[in-house]
Point group: D3
Chain length 237, copies 6
Amino acid sequence: MSLNDAIRAKLAAVSTATLTTVLMKRGLRNAFISDLTLINPGAPRMVGPAYTLRYIPAREDLDHLKVFEDRGHPQRRAVEECPPGHVLVIDSRKDHRAASAGGILLSRLYKRGVAGVVTDGGFRDTPDIARLDFPAYHVAPAAPTNLVRHHAADIDLPIGCGDVPVYPRDIIVGDGEGVVVIPAVIAAEIAEEAFEQTVFEDFVEEQVMAGRSIFGIYPPDPSAKAEFSAWRAARKR
Amino acid sequence: MSLNDAIRAKLAAVSTATLTTVLMKRGLRNAFISDLTLINPGAPRMVGPAYTLRYIPAREDLDHLKVFEDRGHPQRRAVEECPPGHVLVIDSRKDHRAASAGGILLSRLYKRGVAGVVTDGGFRDTPDIARLDFPAYHVAPAAPTNLVRHHAADIDLPIGCGDVPVYPRDIIVGDGEGVVVIPAVIAAEIAEEAFEQTVFEDFVEEQVMAGRSIFGIYPPDPSAKAEFSAWRAARKR
Amino acid sequence: MSLNDAIRAKLAAVSTATLTTVLMKRGLRNAFISDLTLINPGAPRMVGPAYTLRYIPAREDLDHLKVFEDRGHPQRRAVEECPPGHVLVIDSRKDHRAASAGGILLSRLYKRGVAGVVTDGGFRDTPDIARLDFPAYHVAPAAPTNLVRHHAADIDLPIGCGDVPVYPRDIIVGDGEGVVVIPAVIAAEIAEEAFEQTVFEDFVEEQVMAGRSIFGIYPPDPSAKAEFSAWRAARKR
Amino acid sequence: MSLNDAIRAKLAAVSTATLTTVLMKRGLRNAFISDLTLINPGAPRMVGPAYTLRYIPAREDLDHLKVFEDRGHPQRRAVEECPPGHVLVIDSRKDHRAASAGGILLSRLYKRGVAGVVTDGGFRDTPDIARLDFPAYHVAPAAPTNLVRHHAADIDLPIGCGDVPVYPRDIIVGDGEGVVVIPAVIAAEIAEEAFEQTVFEDFVEEQVMAGRSIFGIYPPDPSAKAEFSAWRAARKR
Amino acid sequence: MSLNDAIRAKLAAVSTATLTTVLMKRGLRNAFISDLTLINPGAPRMVGPAYTLRYIPAREDLDHLKVFEDRGHPQRRAVEECPPGHVLVIDSRKDHRAASAGGILLSRLYKRGVAGVVTDGGFRDTPDIARLDFPAYHVAPAAPTNLVRHHAADIDLPIGCGDVPVYPRDIIVGDGEGVVVIPAVIAAEIAEEAFEQTVFEDFVEEQVMAGRSIFGIYPPDPSAKAEFSAWRAARKR
Amino acid sequence: MSLNDAIRAKLAAVSTATLTTVLMKRGLRNAFISDLTLINPGAPRMVGPAYTLRYIPAREDLDHLKVFEDRGHPQRRAVEECPPGHVLVIDSRKDHRAASAGGILLSRLYKRGVAGVVTDGGFRDTPDIARLDFPAYHVAPAAPTNLVRHHAADIDLPIGCGDVPVYPRDIIVGDGEGVVVIPAVIAAEIAEEAFEQTVFEDFVEEQVMAGRSIFGIYPPDPSAKAEFSAWRAARKR
């Protein structure tokens, strides 16, 4: 499936909460990466296919500053090769004591048109990252360079990120709450169903804020379903 | 003890820090729920008797979306039955990988006049919750529906929340720092003593900001006690 | 080495991220205290020699409120004796379930001209602390008084703070990202090298934001080094 | 379903590993309680319906030694009321810093004909328990009495034990590896299928130890299935 | 209080479980060090006053193999100076990724007549230690030398060990279950009361194993108390 | 470097403790995999080059029992393709809630002449594995099949195992204490130096057990070095 503009727009209009519910209906109970913080809450919504980078633990004799002189270094390749519109997802083994990347690399990703970046570790230069108009998710700030804990092993293989499996080209969606991973093959139908669910929940929220009980409407009984149809028609949604 | 308006007002005027000190004098060393975040810092102070909801781990064959069609489902009953002015406290076994509740349910609690909600797990739809004028405390955002990790077992039994015991009708107080649990039977005297302590600490803070040493005043020697009495009388507090 | 004004100024002008890189070049891979939050982000940058306070676990018969009547109590002595311009670093054994200190003590430290305070536990009265123009780093708010978990054992001995060794007089530097510990004997050269690195990274950031690849410039090849020299000369930095 | 002798015998003849595989085929992925140690490995295999005890965190004013003078105390009632042939499963919130029970209570359970005991906390008097001919599973020894951390809240409600849901009357099976929880309603069919699978795996193990590759036999292709049928017939299993 | 032979004998005859109960009656709820393993279960019971060693995190430039050439190195001093009959208790900050000590040092402690050794980290050379007739308690084997994680800071100061406060000269008692810390000033009375309690529990255990209910005897009603007196008199205990 | 018989013999004759010290001298401080248990302590010492298997988190739609019908499944390929004399090292992301492998697969590895197996997760069928004459290291028993938590992603890539980097062909050595990872390129010199160190420590241990102080001998001064030379010559070691 290619992530066409219509699907991308729908995914950007729904919440990660709604997406996880739709995934759960298909038996996918482990699609949300917990414990992430969005460093720059004003950034655009993040939607895009996954491109991955994998770290293993560092080894003192292999991981020193000279490695970055090699253009084949996987971290630097990931930054220059992650396709525009994609999301760079980094497996840092949930270790945020050293940085997965820093301000200069994230600036480069942003300028290259990448859709966002996610790590289950931490970023450095986070005060600078907070000023980029670019969605960046991590666990906690990590000033030390990646070399003190992480060795960039390879790119674009299946990884785990925050205990969630991520395959290259899975669709990654982020909002103010966190990040959800959608298998590529079902992304279109998930987008559609989540969009529908969102319209319905807007209706419910409006009713509840008007003082109505959740019983009979959340989930809806036949009468509430009819009511919703009328509400929706009236609003042309 | 009923939580009358005077006691409620005093509890809303003191900090959780001061309350824990007063509780500690009575040998109660484990009354503060750690690791909580107040999602909506501009919300009113939270004070009210506890009403509880208990989750156990989910089981795939029992916990699916159809369960919400049952009006007897404990989560939904808790939302509709928690008395106005009470605080809904949820035992989520410190697991914030799935939601304890979400935006629509918290909207309903708010509209019903509930005083606040606390979980040692996470809420979903937190960007929406942040806009409610309603105090909601959790550990971290959790987009997935409760069903993927939690099974609502029962309501209004004694529970643990963040390693703290909570009995129905205990008095729950929250501020910008977190949440404290006060045994109902001593709430009035705790409120009184904490209020007195707060006035004294305002005096100390004023003195310290004026450059005075903490020695002799914090704790106060007889001379500082006299000084405080004069200060208090002058301010009619 | 005394921390003269020039070194202090340089350390206040560089990030903890850059400092950890310079330390890592000397084989020091464990100098950043993770998991800290700066309570008051608008406070001045924190730079100063370490003065330490060590907690061990509390014992019920020894740790009660009367201990504070003793002017020799190590917590109170630390607050009154930490030299102006120094940073008070507290070993709380990474336990933030009780406070390392609270608003009144931090106000006193601030008024005494102390440069900042760091704990690997939590502070209480954090809404008040957030209003002080004084850098305070902790892990999470902790309303309960230190006595319920911590016993102040001694002052100005070597400690661990967040798994990082801290020796009295080490130079402590904090920014929006966290806190780094620099051995006193190399602080001057670290400051110098980090300052140089910062100027270079400003150049790189500017180039990257103008659309340039990181290859050839980060790290720089000979041509980029020449370019940087010209850039720097033009800007008189 | 009553746990008749034939089912009980089959469950005692299969491993918890095989049982989890059979449960997983039905979508039940969370049925094994991890991190348990069998204190007395020479004890009989444990099989029986669950009877539960739930602890919440202790409160200093409620949990003191006098509580045991009350025959209605839930821990003491559980020990005297858990039916013979049942397994007492204790929710200790995964906290093994205080005992869930000790040698005298476990002796009483043993003498009363209870089938075994499981806690996700710890037992005390473990050197004594190791000499009982009675299966007892816990996480680690915990010398302190339950009162310092645990308050016995109630008996025979649904609980969590080691992150696994346990409903009264679920069938609990233990072996040298740990403990599995089987929903009562499917226990008979699970027992049957696991027994069949065990016979097959005995065949596979024999073949593998004779030098055969796992390919074609584990899982079996049609030829290996036929071979197994012959093997089984020859052994009259 | 000096630890005379009579007290030492009583402490060696009671369990850590019983000791924690007696301590809890005096309000001391945090005296048992959890998560310890006795490496050599056949070793004599461990009883003796505490002598302490404190580690802080290692620093690469300070902690290298040459440090052991200094006879003033605190780890080596502790091994040569811990008085015979005392227990060496080591604060390793609950980090067992590097050794607190190894086989040769423990052999030396054993030969010097030290009563035992406890760390909340790990020992190395544990297969050798398992053959010493000397009680050694740790969390898990740790092959790496202490230098990779630990810096020996000082000796015979108050420390924390496994979240329990330990003051020099506190009485340390170990059995097959773990280690308990008794304030020196009350050690004699604790020994006495625990010894009495042990005789009583032997009576209860005997009764329970004969088929008696715990009600009425554990805790004992007046009739059971009389029965116990007779039982005790008959056995001259 | 090929792992010839002489090197293999030396590595089998030294402890992991000694090997970590020799590695630490070369700046390699993170070579020991902590928290492992040797399931079958009577098995031969484990020495061999690493062959790796990598798991990522499972996904419900991909990880079901049918996957094992594919001979290309990485777990099954690893079992059939790991070369004789090599050690299979498995990256299970430190998650022992599901099995990395079970009794039948370990039997097959054993029969194929593999030198041992290591996971930072758990094995199932551990009572059976305990009877194999084959070294198997894991964290804790895990009855559930790997599919409920783990997806076998690929084989023979660099991995992390228990926070330690493992590259294919690194030399893996296990003893009763745990497992150490030696970079292939220095394995011969490490073996040599560790062997020498072992002879020396045998001398020291003998001296210490004869009552000698560690001062002057551990580390040795010139006189002790001479003494050791004589001791060694006399024993022809």
